[in-house]
């Protein structure tokens, strides 16, 4: 039986991430994590492959990612029992069209940039409970699709503010299996609570999402009487430079030293060199960092225990224009070392 402690579900028999894949675009390929990606594309428009718009290009990104993940797992799409997937497009269409081609049972999720851990939490719970033998979880984002939907046309000339973040053109996919299979164990999952501390600046998502990350971290630490030093690394989704600094300040105030904290938005790009302002963002950002950096490190035994959070900003263009503040959410996944590596 799994145990529930406060907001966290602890798995007695932890399900495992048995295979994973990360796909990225040009700017991601120029970043520090390039070598961790399974596929990097120079032209993320996928014109020669029949994509007519940026939305279908994002679908292509997901399709490629899913197929690589399944190939690495050595299974066919027919063997997948359930897929949790999400993206940032209106009505979650990038995932829906990717699943149309894949033909697996599918539940679409929306958690903005937190979607990867939202999917992982649900996927792990389903795998842990024995409801699904092979669960695919996947998220993506595409810079161009996000830009034209949420900001301005791509050829429009605008200058970004220093706190703005760059939507990653990337996708990440994980295949979850029940305990007893080789892979990275998911030790616990924590569903976050929506937090809103009155941030209204749509160009400062990191600040809007920080309280959500802090609240989920504190919920976990309080529930288990744990501290950041119990982990080799604590990773947050895409708070960027501004949000990360705020998180460390806040956690210090709460009595926790977050010196082993990294943010996916700052890992995916070299913020000093790549002109992405405060860092990366988008559902694909934390998904790609998870699959290109975090899981490989756990696999190689360089890390033994990691707390991985993705943070999402849950406003829409409409609520923003109507003057609502920006609520945030963060879900956490606790990842351990694979059994083989742990015994060595």
């Amino acid at each position: 039986m799994s145990v529930r402690r406060k907001d966290t579900i602890v798995f007695e028999h932890p399900p495992v991430i048995s295979a994973w894949a990360a796909v990225g675009g040009k700017r991601e390929g120029e970043g520090p994590l390039a070598s961790g990606f399974d596929l990097l594309v120079e032209d993320a428009a996928f014109g020669p492959e029949g994509c007519s718009g940026w939305e279908s290009a994002e679908t292509m990104l997901q399709s490629k990612c899913a197929r690589i993940c399944l190939r690495k797992a050595g299974i066919s799409a027919r063997e997948v029992n359930l897929a949790f997937a999400g993206d940032m497009q209106a009505q979650c269409t990038a995932s829906a069209y990717a699943m149309r081609a894949l033909g697996v049972p599918f539940a679409g999720l929306y958690g903005a940039c937190s979607t990867m851990t939202e999917s992982l939490c649900l996927g792990a719970a389903f795998a842990g409970a024995g409801y699904s033998e092979r669960t695919l979880v996947m998220t993506s984002s595409h810079f161009c699709a996000a830009e034209r939907q949420f900001r301005t046309p791509l050829t429009y000339g605008g200058k970004r503010t220093t706190t703005a973040q760059w939507t990653a053109t990337a996708a990440g996919a994980c295949l979850l299996r029940p305990a007893g299979t080789a892979g990275i164990p998911v030790l616990s999952v924590t569903f976050g609570r929506v937090q809103d501390y009155g941030v209204h600046d749509i160009n400062n998502m990191g600040a809007a999402m920080m309280p959500a990350a802090a609240s989920t971290l504190l919920a976990y630490f309080h529930a288990f009487d744990a501290s950041p030093q119990d982990f080799d690394a604590i990773l947050t989704g895409d708070l960027g430079e501004v949000g990360s600094e705020l998180l460390c300040t806040q956690m210090r105030r709460e009595g926790y030293d977050l010196s082993n904290h990294w943010d996916c938005g700052c890992l995916l790009y070299d913020t000093s060199r790549q002109n992405v302002q405060a860092g990366g963002s988008g559902p694909g950002c934390s998904a790609a960092v998870l699959c290109a950096r975090v899981l490989p490190r756990l696999q190689r035994g360089e890390w033994k225990r990691v707390l991985f959070l993705s943070t999402g900003a849950l406003m829409s263009q409409t609520t923003f224009l109507q003057g609502e503040s920006i609520p945030g959410i963060a879900h956490a996944v606790e990842l351990g070392a694979p059994k083989e590596a742990a015994t060595v």
């Binding site: 007519s52 718009g53 034209r148 301005t152 046309p153 791509l154 050829t155 429009y156 000339g157 605008g158 200058k159 970004r160 503010t161 220093t162 706190t163 937090q195 501390y197 009155g198 941030v199 400062n204 600040a207 309280p211 802090a214 609240s215 504190l218 430079e241 501004v242 600094e245 705020l246 300040t249 806040q250 105030r253 709460e254 002109n275 405060a278």
Partner: protein, 147 residues
């Protein structure tokens, strides 16, 4: 959590990195100034054949054409990431705000996409500019009657 919205808003203000104002302004000044200088060269050229008003109109049309070409090749966007208001404020920025949605929303069709979005960014400028002109017109008319 030891946090309240008021404290947080102060924390955020402290954490936000400042814009490099001097650099931004130099870019804006030189790029904006250069666009205006190009406009003046065009205007002086047109003045050899046309009166002042028509020369002004032709200058605008020429700059709009240049901006449309630059937008088409993605150059205007690239310049704007440095120039900021230097590319925003001149008429070329207005043209860019009309041309870019037209190109962008072609995938949604010529009527519902291009046609419906073409003034998506420039619309407010036209709407409130026209309104302001109308209000001034009424005042001007009233003054001419009264005076």
């Amino acid at each position: 959590m030891k946090l309240d919205p008021k404290t947080y808003s102060k924390m955020v203000r402290r954490a936000v990195p400042h814009s490099p104002v001097l650099k931004d302004c130099l870019w804006a000044f030189f790029v904006g100034g250069s666009i205006c200088l190009a406009g003046e060269i065009l205007r002086q050229t047109y003045l050899t054949w046309y009166d002042g008003e028509m020369a002004g109109t032709l200058t605008s049309i020429s700059l709009i054409f240049a901006s449309a070409v630059a937008t088409l090749f993605g150059w205007y966007q690239k310049l704007a990431t440095h120039a900021g208001a230097g590319t925003l404020v001149p008429i070329t920025g207005f043209a860019n705000s009309v041309v870019s949605p037209a190109i962008e929303f072609k995938t949604e069709g010529w009527v519902s996409g291009v046609g419906a979005h073409i003034f998506g960014i420039a619309g407010p400028v036209l709407a409130y500019g026209t309104l302001a002109g109308w209000v001034w017109g009424v005042i001007y008319w009233a003054m001419s009657k009264g005076g």
